[in-house]
């Protein structure tokens, strides 16, 4: 059923009686062409693009809990394409283009808001590193502007330029970056996939992957065995557990990333601001809440909740950067489980098992990748060939040292990216 202002008007007159379910609740079939393990943002967009771009609709998305219940439902909603290194650069560039056409494509308002992302820098050295990144963005065809101190001041008067512990030398401005309504992204892709015939199966936990003679045959689930020609893993923080069902050990460690939202207040902040020295980033939602976060809690965890030291560190960063938000009150804090790879960049690749595919390692950058990841993963699954923008996301790069994408320059320790 198509959505439109007219439809809303009609339903308004007739008591909303005509709205149909956004997706069905199908029973699992005995066999599918493709089974996607994981009904998060990436899994749902993969299903959508398999159907839309490749006409593969005999697809099931198996979700342990509820659709969009993973990191796509618990993040700080930032969308950007401001990476420095080849491999990441072209991928996020492609993903951002998909964001820009998403609402019309999905006929669903995901409230993509290109309000601009500003990464602050605090020394000449950092300025030069950001300049390198900004030039890489422009080389890639994206947008970047190097702001000096006054340039930042004009855009973000809230910052305490005179007293902040690490002075603001300027910022790398990425106007096309912004935010989106995270749940809506999952729902929009789910609805689009369902409309094209994909079975979205909730409360269905995968308990095993059936492999015979090096070829994938299907999966075991809490709702019985399901056969499949191809099986695609895309389960973020749970990647290691699911991959282990296929005898794989991944370059992944799962970590907690906390995020915070304040009570709704009238608009005061228009852009997404990232304060490098404080590991702090912040934006304001359309509902008025300040949405912000910081670094990982740093210890391996599946608890989806954090502890006070990082929470306090994040608040302290906010207080030195923009002490005018002092009296905004934190309403809710939560944690997501991040699949931290050992160079901080993702993996979209085939595995040694024929017909088994792997998509993981998004660290804390998974939300902005939702469209691009699904698009490229669908391409790999459908054609058994890497999609160009994601062709560097290889699993073997760690062993060979070839094409590592260590944006932070922190090396092989998973939690430092």
């Amino acid at each position: 059923m198509g959505y439109s202002a007219l439809k809303i008007f009609k339903e308004g007159l007739f008591g909303q009686k005509g709205w149909k379910p956004v997706w069905r609740n199908p029973e699992p079939k005995a066999e599918y062409d493709v089974i996607i393990i994981g009904g998060g943002g990436h899994g749902l967009s993969t299903a959508y693009y398999l159907a839309k771009e490749h006409g593969i609709t005999n697809v099931a998305v198996l979700e342990k809990g509820y659709l969009g219940g993973g990191n796509v439902g618990r993040n700080t909603t930032i969308v950007r394409a401001n990476y420095a290194l080849p491999g990441n650069s072209e991928f996020y560039s492609h993903s951002l283009k998909l964001w820009e056409g998403m609402e019309q494509d999905l006929n669903y308002n995901t409230m993509m808001s290109q309000r601009g992302v500003i990464n602050l820098f605090h020394s000449d050295g950092q300025r030069d590193a950001f300049a390198r990144r900004g030039n890489a963005m422009i080389n890639q065809g994206d947008d970047a502007i190097l702001l000096d101190r006054d340039g930042v001041r004009d855009l973000v008067p809230l910052i305490d330029f005179d007293n902040v512990r690490f002075p603001i030398y300027g910022g790398l401005y990425h106007p096309r970056g912004g935010t989106a309504r995270h749940d809506a992204v999952a729902w929009g892709y789910a609805r689009g996939a369902d409309q094209r015939g994909v079975d979205l199966i909730q409360n269905c936990e995968v308990t095993g992957i059936d492999i015979e003679g090096g070829v994938v045959k299907g999966v075991q689930t809490s709702r019985g065995a399901i056969r499949a020609k191809k099986v695609a893993i895309v389960v973020a923080g749970r990647s290691s557990q699911v991959a282990e069902m296929a005898g794989m050990r991944l370059p992944i460690e799962s970590h907690i990333l906390q995020a915070f939202v304040t009570e709704g207040i009238k608009p005061i902040l228009d852009q997404v601001i990232s304060f490098g020295m404080g590991h702090f980033y912040i934006s304001q939602s359309d509902k008025g809440g300040l949405v912000f976060g910081g670094d990982l809690d740093f210890y391996a965890s599946y608890a989806a909740r954090g502890n006070l030291p990082m929470m306090e560190h994040v608040m302290e960063a906010g207080m030195t950067l923009m002490p005018s938000i002092a009296k905004a009150r934190v309403l809710r804090s939560w944690g997501g489980i991040m699949d931290m790879s050992s160079d901080g960049s993702p993996i979209i690749d085939k595995t040694e098992t024929e017909g088994l595919y792997l998509n993981c390692g998004w660290c804390y950058g998974g939300f902005k990748a939702v469209p691009g990841s699904g698009f490229s993963y669908a391409h790999l699954i459908a054609k058994d060939m890497h999609h160009e923008p994601a062709s560097q996301f290889r699993l073997d790069r760690f062993r060979t040292g070839r094409g590592l994408m260590d944006e932070e320059g922190t090396g092989s320790q998973h939690n430092l990216h």
Partner: protein, 87 residues
């Protein structure tokens, strides 16, 4: 979160630096081959449950400790000094 430093006693998590899984104690020989080194540097069991991981009491006594901790509940069931226990 609090961790039991074998030297200092129970201390707030904020005094500690986290490195990762205790697999880092089993350093391969220089010529062990790229597979062994790939496992050592990158690949992890990443268990959802009880694990042994490595922390440094950075803002304390400076000891590296191996903590037995549950990654789902965060229950800490033990800790020992790394010195002398490493292979």
């Amino acid at each position: 979160m609090r961790l039991p430093c074998p030297l200092c006693g129970d201390r707030d998590r904020r005094e500690f630096y986290y490195q990762g899984h205790a697999v880092a104690l089993d350093r391969p020989a220089r010529d062990a081959g790229d597979g062994a080194w790939d496992d050592y540097l990158h690949n992890r069991d990443n268990i959802a449950g009880e694990v042994r991981d490595l922390w440094h009491h950075e803002a304390g006594c400076g000891a590296w400790i191996e903590v037995t901790r549950n990654t789902v509940t965060h229950v800490v069931s033990g800790a020992r000094l790394v010195r002398g226990t490493a292979k």
